[in-house]
Symmetry: none
Subunit: 401 residues, 2 copies
């Protein structure tokens, strides 16, 4: 059952404010047997104080044992079943560089490659060509012109760039042209359904023109196309929850994910303090605020336990600025765990805390991996968090008579 | 959503080893109010030591309140949704006596019965004819001959035997011929779908010849056919998890269940110690080992609390032999509860323990019904256990970007 079937039916509008603080990759692991996790080791007086008033639980991002990327991790927190709603790789890449996809767009991840004299691929990544050389080539590809199609070419990093095709009747189910091997020519794009045939025709024209434009380049004399993806068709926060929602994030990827569910991107914050300023400034304009903190994840991915502890304490320190605004519901969570011990996203459940005037406190006095498994929210799939948020905000009517 | 949709997509191969120890019917109940369960009463120093390093939880075999048989109980542990994948009764009976079903086989549970002079059933179980009398009759039924069909007749116990039909185009959806009443004749087999019509024709020929063969028998002068079932079509461990898997079991039923998911049956162990010898001997040949211990279930079914305690201690004693091999992931669980108090399989969640180098310990220091409900794995459906095993073995890639 899709939770939205219920929320669409039951949502109520009122003056409540919901704040969801997402510390990316919040969950962790002890560095050594018997030790504490990053969150347990961190000095977090404000989160602990909130834990006394609130209720906590362990959130399973997608399913037991599944380590999610940022896309499914955030969709779950936003209440969108991350198995049902897939964000294709092209769409996520475009989103990640801040490109605003429109309905019907098809986004494609492209790799510059090197072809030999026979037209076979000699290097699938054009020798990992540096960005300062590849970006001008991507810009040059903006010369490609196809009647009836608007084309966007955006540099990314090293051998990678993104192409977005905009026009009527473009489907996203097209196979990669990267043969995943050298010594062979690139593949032709092939449609996996009728609706994507026009995309194949357009892609072929693009490739023909690109081959001409790049032919004299020494290294990056062609490119492959991968991860074709239409803009995912997600219902908006307004539609499924009746919420006017704002995202306050620093990195384009998270702004992009929020935009996909219809949130407005507000402010140009560069730090957590900036984010708090933006929150305060827009407090009267929105019902729901998604605030994203990146560095608990990046320090975890770096395998730097101490740095993750420090970043967690930074995150703790801004909690009072949120509470000063007197939100109806305050949520603290993460989109997945990123234990420094693993230097990677993981499947471990994420400590999650919800505080409101009508939550049922669970007697716990601190916030961490050790406490959350004994919390009043139990273990639950992340996709249920938004329904709890709405309920605690008095924004859901009774189901059935 | 079928978990296998994700695992098929995400599995990775590496050199890790996963051991799943299944103590059949492990979960129990106190014998009297305020008392301990069998597992809590047992002296289990090795399981308790493993609990300190690992993470535990309460596994729900099928769904809340559902007491499973061995088939669904094990399918759940193996990660196959026991609601989606049904093993028909005929197929389970054949599997239980060690008969190796092939794709397309149809297995039928048969009961010898007694017909009166008018051809009406006077005893549906032929007076529970003893095995030493019934087995020769089953063997005699091997005289039945039907062109184009290979026929196997296997004695089971008392009035029960199994018939397996092998040939092209045999469907398994055929109704029982046992009218569940006396004073009436046996029913004719009836197909529930087009694909099973040929099975009905073959079954009718079998019954005609059997009536002739048995006509002079005093008690067992005919038989009924029940639980027609095709071999269930289960994807293999290799297909869904990329695992080369071995089963080390003593009883034919559990070997059969393991074979249905593509495990190899290794060794000819008769005791737990034998099973440990086989494990060691085949350690380098497989990625995954399923080790089945029967006696926690059989003592539970006997309603013998003390015997179940003793068998649990026997099980505990072999844990060091497993850990000596240094498995990447060690799992201890049961396929369901069999409380001696109930002398039966039950629905109660099963204490389940997982230990690995990257599990998130939960601070618990013993293993039992009382601790598992406070464990880091929470309460979870058994079908998720394999995904957790794979994740802890580093055998699952990231879901989504």
């Amino acid at each position: 059952m899709d939770t939205h079937t219920l929320t669409r039916e039951l949502f109520i509008k009122n003056d409540s404010k919901i704040v969801m603080l997402v510390a990316d990759g919040l969950g962790g692991l002890p560095w050594e047997a018997g030790g504490k996790t990053e969150l347990e080791a961190a000095n977090t007086p404000h989160l602990d104080a909130l834990a006394k008033k609130g209720v906590q639980g362990a959130s399973i991002p997608v399913a037991h044992g599944i380590s999610p990327g940022s896309g499914p991790g955030h969709l779950g927190l936003f209440g969108y079943d991350p198995i049902k709603y897939l964000i294709g790789r092209g769409a996520l890449e475009a989103t990640g560089i801040g490109f605003e996809l429109q309905q019907g767009d098809v986004a494609i991840r492209c790799n510059f490659c090197t072809l030999d004299a026979d037209g076979n691929i000699s290097d699938r990544r054009a020798g990992r060509i540096p960005t300062e050389e590849s970006a001008p080539l991507a810009i040059k590809l903006r010369e490609v012109s196809i009647p009836g199609i608007e084309i966007f070419v955006e540099p990314v990093k090293e051998h990678r760039f993104v192409v977005v095709l905009r026009g009527a009747g473009l489907g996203g189910n097209v196979r990669d042209t990267d043969p995943q091997a050298t010594g062979v020519p690139p593949l032709d794009p092939v449609a996996d359904d009728e609706a994507s045939q026009k995309t194949v025709d357009v892609a072929k024209q693009f490739l023909t023109q690109a081959r001409e434009i790049l032919k004299d380049e020494e290294r990056a004399n062609f490119h492959t196309m991968r991860g074709f993806a239409a803009k995912p068709d997600l219902p908006s926060y307004e539609q499924v929850y009746g919420l006017k929602a704002a995202a306050i994030a620093v990195y384009p990827m998270y702004k992009g994910l929020a935009r996909l569910v219809g949130m407005d991107i507000v402010g140009h914050a560069q730090t957590l303090d900036d984010q708090m300023d933006v929150l305060k400034q827009h407090w009267n304009d929105y019902d729901f605020f998604f605030i994203h903190f990146k560095y608990t994840d990046s320090t975890g991915e770096d395998g730097n336990f101490d740095a993750k502890v420090k970043r967690t304490e930074e995150f703790d320190a801004i909690i009072p600025r949120v509470l000063d605004l007197n939100p109806t519901v305050t949520i603290v969570t993460g989109d997945h765990s990123t234990p420094s011990f693993l230097s990677n996203h993981s499947w471990h459940p994420v400590p999650t805390l919800l505080a409101s005037g009508c939550c049922r406190p669970d007697g716990l006095t601190s916030f961490g991996e050790d406490t959350c498994i004994r919390g009043g929210l139990g273990q639950f799939e992340a996709k249920h968090l938004m329904t709890l948020a709405l309920a605690n905000a008095g924004r859901l009517g009774k189901y059935g008579a």
